[in-house]
Every structure is written in structure tokens, then in C-alpha cells.
């Protein structure tokens, strides 16, 4: 019977260097753990790979954003200069596309950039004012010089004692329980 506690978020192991964390994450994944996350003070490409995560969909969001900005920017100018308020400017056609390029370009960049940032925040679930991992006092070091692996209690393979023993074999400095 797996021991599951609704009061517990998971078990957190602390490591001293990025190599240990990446190795531990690979081991945990090989062991069959899936609902887990690794925390580091700087981006580590290998870590994402070790978690067995697919590549993010963010580029697609940015591409769609860029298209919307591009089409929207041009449509705005076409509509304003050709339909809503047609003005004869030095004999140019109402829809003189070369004159519309700069604003179309700027709108493309603006919407694409906004979708990159807002998309990243949305996919990451930020802003998030509260998260259980912050209940571990030593987790404050995750933004300084320590590396953490947290196996969540929701994982189907999670068993308090077994998982704790497993994490200890990975060379963790400390394994602590994460309260909800």
C-alpha cells in the first residue's frame, strides 16, 4: 500500500553541483518517476532533457503572434487610409503598400514579442504567488548556488520511505519533506 499524504507535496533532494543534479534527474527518470521537477539557479539545458520533457510550444505561439501582428498592422492601415478616411497624399494610391511596410513591420515585432513573454509566463503558470517548494527553508539557495530535485507525492511511483531512500542513494546533501 503506497503511503500517500494529502499534507505532503513531495520529497526534495539538495545537490551541490549541476552535474550531480543532472545525473540524479536521469536516474530518477530511469527509475520511473515522472511527476517531478528540478530546480537550478541558472538554465541547464541537459536538465530539461533529463526530465524527459518535450520541446516547448512557445515558438509556435510567437509565430502565430507575429502573423497576427503583421496582418493586423497592414489591415489597420488599409482600412484607415483606404476606407475610413481616404486622403490623397501626393497622388499615391490609397492602398500604397510600400508606405505601409514600416508600421506593418513594427506591429509584427510588437505582437510577436508580447506573445513570447506572455506565452512564456502563461505556459510557466506565472505569476504564482504561492508554491509549496518554498516551504523548504534551504530552497532559498535555489536562486544562489544549490540544485534541487523534487519528486512529487502525486507521482504514481511515490512511496515516502522508498523514494526517500532512493534520493539518498543519489548523493543528495539532504532530503527533506515538502509540506503543502
Amino acid at each position: 500500500m503506497p503511503q500517500r499524504s494529502p499534507l505532503m507535496y513531495g520529497l526534495m533532494a539538495e545537490f551541490e553541483d549541476p552535474n550531480a543534479l543532472v545525473a540524479a534527474t536521469y536516474r530518477a527518470h530511469d527509475e520511473g518517476y515522472r511527476t517531478m521537477d528540478a530546480y537550478s539557479p541558472f538554465p541547464i539545458e541537459e536538465l530539461h532533457e533529463a526530465l524527459g520533457e518535450p520541446h516547448t510550444r512557445l515558438p509556435l505561439i510567437v509565430l502565430i503572434g507575429g502573423f497576427c501582428g503583421c496582418i493586423g498592422g497592414y489591415a489597420l492601415q488599409y482600412w484607415a487610409s483606404g476606407i475610413a478616411y481616404p486622403l490623397n497624399i501626393s497622388g499615391k494610391p490609397y492602398n500604397s503598400w510600400p508606405m505601409f511596410i514600416p508600421v506593418t513591420f513594427e506591429c509584427t515585432i510588437l505582437v510577436a514579442a508580447l506573445s513570447a513573454v506572455l506565452g512564456m509566463l502563461a505556459l510557466n503558470g506565472l505569476p504564482m504567488p504561492y508554491h509549496p517548494v518554498f516551504n523548504v527553508p534551504r530552497f532559498a539557495l535555489a536562486s544562489r548556488n544549490r540544485f534541487f530535485l523534487c519528486i512529487e507525492a502525486r507521482d504514481s511511483k511515490f512511496e515516502l520511505e522508498k523514494t526517500r531512500r532512493f534520493l539518498e542513494t543519489l548523493g543528495a546533501l539532504e532530503v527533506s519533506a515538502v509540506a503543502h
Binding site: P43, E46, L47, A113, V117, Y130
Partner: protein
Amino acid sequence: MTESVQPTAELHAAMAGAADTRVLAPGHTFGSITDKISAVVMTQRTPMWWYLGFLVVSGFALLLFVSLTYLLIRGVGIWGNNQPVGWAFDITNFVWWIGIGHAGTLISAILLLFRQTWRTSINRFAEAMTLFAVACAGIFPLMHTGRPWLAYWLFPYPNTMMLWPQFKSPLIWDVFAVSTYGLVSLIFWYVGLIPDVATLRDRATTRIGRVMYGMMAMGWRGSARHWHRYETAYLLLAGLATPLVVSVHSVVSLDFAVSVIPGWHTTLFPPYFVAGAIYSGFAMVLTLVIPIRALYGFEDFITMRHLQNMAKVMLATGLIVAYGYMTEAFMAWFSQNQYESFMMWNRMTGPYWWAYATLILCNVITPQALWFKRVRMSVPTLFVIALIVNAGMWLERFVIVVTSLHRDFLPSAWGRFSPTFWDWSTYLGTIGLFLTLLFLFLRVLPMISMFEMRTLLPAAKVELEHERGV
């Protein structure tokens, strides 16, 4: 794990060996980098020079508020602008400030795409500079409209007057280019700050610090999944900011080039303006970074390698600008257009000859000293050259704006421009505002990107061979 120690130590030795090519002094750890950079904000006592400096620069910022208040009461007549010189100090200052901003985006976006690790310790700072420079730049065209409280008319929105902006005008392109640039620079800077303010949040000792930095960090916890999306977003933003930065000064130059004024009506302007922008921007970064690295003792993060590289970028863009001046003069002669050739002759020998001569001295002749390594290795000399280039680039815009306008086609329509007290006070005031914002930035936010500095350490390299078991 033990296998990985070997190459790490080698890398470290290699870095330590080449004293003036390194981007980070040896002996640092993840912790020491974090502590040293965050100490400026968190634990270190605010130094005396900060208070004194802040007093002076905020005094100038107050001068700006006085000038603008008086301007709003009396109107643009308090400036020396006239017919024919309708764009005088305000547009000169606008172009100068926007140009300065360009180095920040170049350092943060273009050098990121080129994987230039030396950008890491100066990008945060340069991006802040961009943001403040764009803020200062925006003041000038806004006030120059004469009725700044109606500036929202520049944006397309459904209104009861049933009017829409005239999209065939470069001035409206400028509105879109500059506001997009300002906004993208802001979000780029903020995204870069998120992991670092999370560090400050975790290290804050006061409640107000925890709350303020906590809100700014938005709950960032350094999760690997988050980092992955974060890195993707950052790279995409850099890719978007790169064409953007090239477009902004191109669009600014089109304000001039699309007109028919001799001296403005030229296809040379977009590339020449962009090069000039980067030139002046790097000069400004050097002007600011040299005192700051000395005052905060950041010589091990902002090394001679950084100063040298920036000097080299200045030299290269300075040569492009010099080529621009030569082409302008050559085309004036080669086109056989009497207005163009008169404009050039008037620029060199007319009433503003001193401005042109000083600009050549500042922008073309002075930076040639940077060919010599001895000059590039001397910090005070670099500082002086950077100051001279700043002044030279301001003069370049003054020459382009004023000498082209004051004598165009008909001698009966010629005129002169001389700045008034309020012209000067507004200009000095924006410098005050710029430096005030910079002082506040140094005090409350990490001026060097901590998380990116951590990745420069040899210990950050993951050396692992793993066969996925599944």
C-alpha cells in the same frame, strides 16, 4: 561525478592563464558571484558618492521639470526654433538619445545571437541605459508637437472626430517604431530581471524587500521546465529585437530622408544612422561603465576584455560613420545638384562651420587612436575618447538638423538658429533625468545579470554521458 572535475579544472586554468582575454576573473563560485552583485542592493551600505551624485543629477532632473512646466505654460516659443529651423535642439536631442539606446539592444540581443559571452556582464546595465535613453528621447517629439496633451491623436483609435492617422507619413512610422522599441526593450529587460529579482527576494532581509522583489519575481522558482521556456522566449525576443533595433534608427532617418530638403534627401541615411546610433551608444556605455566598475569594484566582472571589445566596436562603427560623411560630401559633388553642393559647402564653410569641424574632429579623427592597443588598454584614455564621441555624435545630429534647414532653396527664406536658455535647460535636464534613473537602478536592482554570470563559471558546464535507460 568525479570524472567531471578534471575538465572543469583545466577550463579554469585556461581562463586564468589569459589575463586580458578573460570575461570573468578566476576564483569565483556561484555563491560569490551572487553575493558580490546582490550586495550592492541588499547588504552594502549605500556609499557616500551615491548620495552626493544623486543630489546633483536629481537637481538636473528638477531642472527638466521646471523647463517643461514653463514650456507648457508659455508654449514652444520659449525655444529658439523658428522658420526655417523648425526642428532644432528638440529633434537633435531626440535622435541623439534614441541612438544611445541602440547599444543596449545590440549588446543584449545581437551579441546574444552571436554567442558573445562578453556581453553577459554588461547587458543588464546597457539595457537599462536603453530604456532610460528612450524615455528621455520620447520627451522631445512629444513636447515638440506643441500640444503634448493631444499626443494620443498619433495613435489609431476610433474617435468621435472620425479621424485616422496618416500612415504614409514617416512621422507616424516613427511613433510606431519608437513606441514598439520602448515597449520591447522594457519587456526584454524585465524578462532578464525575473530570475535575478527572485534571488533578491530569497536574500531579502526586510519585509518590504521580500514583498517588492517577490511581486516582481512573480513566483519564479528556477524550475527546469520554466528555464527551458524562459530560454526559448529569451532567444526569440533577441531574434525579434535584432531587426527591430536596425529598423528604429532607419525609421528615424526616414523622417529626414523622405523629405526634399538638401542634406536630408538621401538613401544613405538609414545605414548611416544605424551605425551612428551604435557608435554613440557604445560611447555612452563606456562613459557609464568605466566609473561604475571602479566605484563598485566590479573589475573582475567587467574586465579589460569588455572595455577593449567595446572600444573595437566603437572604432568599427566610427569608420562606418566616417564613410557616411565622405559619401555625403562626394554625392554633393557627384550629383551636380546645385542645392546639394551648396548645402555641403555651407555646412563646411557657412555660419555653422565650427560645428562641422568639431564633429569631424570628435567622430572621425579622435577614435583613430583606438587602433593602438596601448590606447585601448588605458582606462582613462578610453573614458575621454568615449566622452568626445558622445559630444561628436550630438554635434552630428545638430549639423544634420540645423545646417540643412537654415539655408535651403531660396535665399529669401534663409535664417539662423541660436539656442535659448530653455533649449539648454531642457537638454541638460534630460541628461539629469537619465542619470537619476540610472542611479536609482544601481541602487535597487542587480546591475549585472547574476544568473547569466553563473553560467560563465566552468563549474556550470555539465559534462555527462548518459544513456537513457528506457
